[in-house]
Symmetry: C2
Subunit: 400 residues, 2 copies
């Protein structure tokens, strides 16, 4: 029997408790041993809940119990999660987590601490919820040079953009609806400003490219600026706006960026709707590969955490390989990243041509006194200079 | 350094050789050791090819060389692949393969032989080419009760159906084009009759459900019967015809079936075109998950085989866990499987109503003297009896 402790009995923690019990028999068969939740740590009480019997308010109960081999960290945030995780690893306990803030901030260090203590720090649930992308990168797609990744990695923003496109809601309405349905938090900044997706693409790109990318260096735009006219232009063009978290190795260097982008139908990401997530990976042998599924939610996220618990149990005392090194991957300065831009322009077509050479104007009845067009491929700096010079650019959205 | 031998220098074998060399450095970093191809076994000579130096025509050279720790079997077919694989495993060498016939026929036994000899028999490439579905089932989605799988698992048939729908080709033209483009073999029966997809869904379902499903018990229809009128009806209905290999656990039992089906836009499999493959998996915690990518081709398949080589190297002397047991999973008799059928009918609407209760007729200009309709959900037996009684059913295609 393997004893587990769950830190934090919120949405994900409760999901992990539920999955480990609901699928107890199958999990025992696949693990080779029964998995038993010996402790749940939370500041609150849960009278009547089955966890009440195993509830503790003191982390030392867990830390000092040699029977606990695996700690599930589903508290979120950096404090006290960082300290608790480090202490558990140093005490020879593997840690499985859904905490993307912590993984993005201290994941590399914690993986090293785990290795030094012959245990595992696993975080499948930190990116893409139930989608097994981290397992794929660490264990299956290992023969490839991964050279590009693009993900819809945040369900909240994809839900909002879907509602705006399908239900013709404006951003504020769609956000309110997302909050009402439990898809957005009361303080939704981490989602709508793109910070959540930024952390995830930094983690995934680090694993894929085998070097360390700090999320702090990833250029990030959210979707708060997307309005109903942007959506209307997209529709007129047969495109959709998606918040894409992407990174790419090019001849001039590797870039990473989170931004809303116009996606066309031939791209499978176009078809990813609502709170669903997907990650596109390109490898030099593999070609195109996409993993798609529930990026959030109690049970899908818990499925990934519980899968990690099984991996940790199967590999007790044996750190699993991972290609995440200390070597820092210097990203290409954002000014040099090349994109094609859809420009909303308030001047005349002649003025647009003067600034951007030839253009092919797109006009929609909803947008008075303006029109849109696609630029050629430009560096971010070139684009900004052209836009500044013209003085008539209302807004620009990059093409996927 | 880990020494590897490749059996069979055909499309996939040559791809494995190429991937292991092309990505040598990255693979060495991820494996912790260099991987070196010491032998290539083939009956032919390859003058001028770099493998000529490591070429052998005698399997005993490989079998008796204790330095060879991993054997890549990319010969295909049962003979001599089965014997060679068994001998390698018994000699303490792990075997990585793309050979779905062999895995479907003897995979369970060979995995047991591997286990008994403390080595691995790995076959990621046998299902879905480069798509890491087997790794996902064995290692990541382990906390779930998987209760349904549906795959587009054969690129040849998906290419033919795509050509029929997009280019308005008939079956014979589309098949000829597939052969010309190297997407179909000269003897294409295994693909177009559904046998290839059948083997793959048997393997995947066995791994997912943790019991043994023989491909021989999987009801299988191919696409040779699909004509241009079927495609025209599908288009009129906003649907596509896809060859789906599916299995499902229901309250009355587990069924598995390969058949062309009508798929609607809201299903991601609708958007899988050409030679691409995809597998949908549903877990009781995970919810919906889809893995999508190149199901065939030299490099994508080689990517999966080479990924297995890395797993075998990382886990030398340590059989990896897998939930594929000897216990046979008795499938629900096909007669009892329930489906909704799209019926092409040559009688009157009254005759159709008499046989199938209410119907909602669909007429297309291309189809004279007939019309189509969907039935209610029926067991296969109920449907057959109704169809026989009416005597006017031209053809039926199941709905996804």
């Amino acid at each position: 029997m393997i004893n587990v402790a769950i830190l934090g009995y919120g949405t994900v923690g409760a999901g992990v408790y539920r999955v480990l019990n609901m699928n107890r028999e199958t999990i025992a068969r696949r693990t080779g041993e029964e998995i038993y939740v010996k402790y749940v740590l939370d500041l609150r009480e849960f009278p009547g809940d089955p966890t009440q019997e195993v509830l503790t308010h003191d982390y030392n109960d867990i830390l000092s119990d040699p029977e606990v081999k695996i700690v599930v960290e589903t508290m979120g945030g950096l404090r006290p999660a960082y300290m608790f995780t480090k202490q558990a690893l140093e005490a020879g306990k593997s840690v499985c987590t859904s905490n993307k803030e912590l993984v993005a901030e201290h994941g590399l260090e914690l993986r090293d601490v785990a290795k030094a203590n012959n245990v595992n720090y696993l975080f499948e649930a930190s990116c893409g919820g139930g989608i097994p992308i981290i397992h794929a990168l660490d264990n299956a797609l290992t023969a490839d040079e991964i050279d590009a990744m693009t993900g819809i990695l945040n369900g909240t923003t994809n839900y909002i953009l879907t509602q705006m496109a399908v239900e013709n809601e404006d951003f504020a309405e769609a956000l309110k609806g997302a909050q009402k349905n439990g898809y957005a938090e009361l303080h939704p900044e981490a989602d709508i400003e793109g910070w959540d997706a930024c952390r995830k693409i930094a983690i995934l790109s680090s694993l894929a490219y085998g070097k360390y990318i700090s999320y702090k260096n990833v250029y990030t735009e959210g979707i708060t600026n997307i309005d109903t006219l942007d959506i209307a232009y997209a529709k007129a063009l047969g495109l959709k706006i998606k918040l894409l978290a992407a990174s790419k190795r090019t001849e001039s260097g590797t870039w990473a960026m989170v931004a809303p982008r116009l996606v066309d139908k031939s791209n499978m990401l176009y078809h990813v709707e609502g709170v669903l997530n997907a990650v596109y990976v390109h490898g030099n042998a593999l070609g195109d590969c996409i993993l798609y599924g529930s990026g959030a939610g109690s049970l899908p996220t818990a499925s990934a955490v519980a899968g990690d618990v099984i991996s940790a149990a199967r590999n007790h005392g044996r750190p699993l390989p991972s290609d995440w090194s200390d070597e820092v991957l210097e990203l290409l300065p954002i000014d040099e990243v090349r994109n094609t831009f859809f420009v909303r322009f308030s001047g005349s077509e002649e003025e647009a041509e003067a600034a951007f050479s030839t253009i092919d104007a797109v006009r929609i009845p909803e947008a008075e006194g303006e029109f849109g067009f696609f630029t050629a491929e430009l560096s971010e700096k070139e684009f900004r200079e052209m836009a500044d010079k013209s003085g008539k650019v209302i807004k620009a959205i990059r093409r996927a």
